[in-house]
Amino acid sequence: MVTRGLINLAQAGEAALIVAAQARDQAAFGELVKRRQGWARALLRRMCSNAAEADDLAQEAFIKAWERLRDLETPAAFPGWFRRIAVTTFLMAKRRQRAVFEEIDDASPIASEDSTPEAAAGAKIDLERALSRLSDAERLCVTLNHGEGLSHSEIVEMTGLPLGTVKSHVLRGTEKLRRMLEAA
C-alpha cells in the first residue's frame, strides 16, 4: 500500500487526491489517473472511434490536466473540468488533422453479438460499433448528450458549435442509431 505524506493513496478520496495533485504531488496524480482512466478513455474512444488514437488523446488530456490543475477551483468540479479538457483535446486533434466532419450514410443493421438477458428484449446496442458509423460531429454530440448527460446548450458552450448544429447532430445521430437497431 502506497502512503505518501499524510495521504494513503489507495484509500484517499478523489478530493484529497486532487488537492494533493494541485500541490504537485505526482503520486497522487498518478492515483487519480488510475481511477479516472477508464471513464476518460471510454469517453474519447466514443468520440474518436479509434482506440489507439483515443488513448493518445486521453494521455494528452491527462498531461494538460496536470499542467492546469491549479486552475481547478474545487475538487468536486474535476469531472466536468476534465471532460472539457478532453473534448478540447479531441477538437484540436481534429483541427490538426484538418478533418472535415464528414457524413457517413451507413445505417446497416448493428446489434450486440453478446446481448444480455438484462437488455430489454435482447435490444442492446454494440455502442462502439454503432457510434463508429456516425460522422465525427454526430458522434461527439451524441456521446456528450446521451453518454455524458449534457444539455444542448452545455454542448454548445463546450464545443463552440452553433446551437442549431448541435441539435441537428444529436437528432440525426440518434436517428441513425435507431435505424441501425431497428434494422438489426
Partner: protein
C-alpha cells in the same frame, strides 16, 4: 424520453471501460519527465537571467567609469584598472570604441538570451 433514448443511455452506462495499469503508468512517466524538463528549463532561465544581470552590471560599470572614474576607482573595483588601460589617456579612439562595442554587444546578447530562455519557459 423514448424507449430508444433510455436504451441508448443504458448502453452508454453499461459500455465497457478500458482499465489497464499500463496507461496510468505511462501517463505518470510522461508527467515525471515533463517535470524534470521544466526544472532544467527553470534552472537555465535562472542562469540566463544571472548572465544578463551580470552583463548589465558590467555595462553600468563601464558607463560609470566614463562619467565618474574616480568614484568607481575609489570603490575598489578590480576591473577599473584594466578598464583605465583601454579607455585612459593612452588609449586611442579605436580601443575606446572597441571596448564600448564589446560591452554593448555583451549586454544585448545576454538580455536577448535571457528573454529567449524566459519565452521558452512560458511555452
Amino acid at each position: 424520453m423514448t424507449d430508444f433514448d433510455a436504451l441508448l443511455k443504458r448502453s452508454f452506462a453499461e459500455a465497457h471501460e478500458p482499465a489497464d495499469d499500463g496507461f496510468s503508468v505511462h501517463v505518470s512517466h510522461v508527467v515525471a519527465r515533463n517535470e524534470r524538463v521544466a526544472r532544467i528549463r527553470n534552472a537555465a532561465q535562472t542562469g540566463a537571467w544571472a548572465v544578463a544581470g551580470a552583463a548589465v552590471l558590467y555595462g553600468v560599470f563601464g558607463l560609470a567609469m566614463s562619467v565618474a572614474p574616480d568614484v568607481v576607482t575609489s570603490l575598489g573595483f578590480g576591473m577599473s584598472r584594466a578598464h583605465e588601460v583601454i579607455t585612459g589617456p593612452g588609449a586611442n579612439m579605436a580601443q575606446t570604441i572597441s571596448a564600448g562595442m564589446t560591452q554593448i554587444l555583451l549586454v544585448t546578447g545576454a538580455i536577448a538570451g535571457g528573454l529567449v530562455a524566459y519565452r521558452a519557459t512560458q511555452e
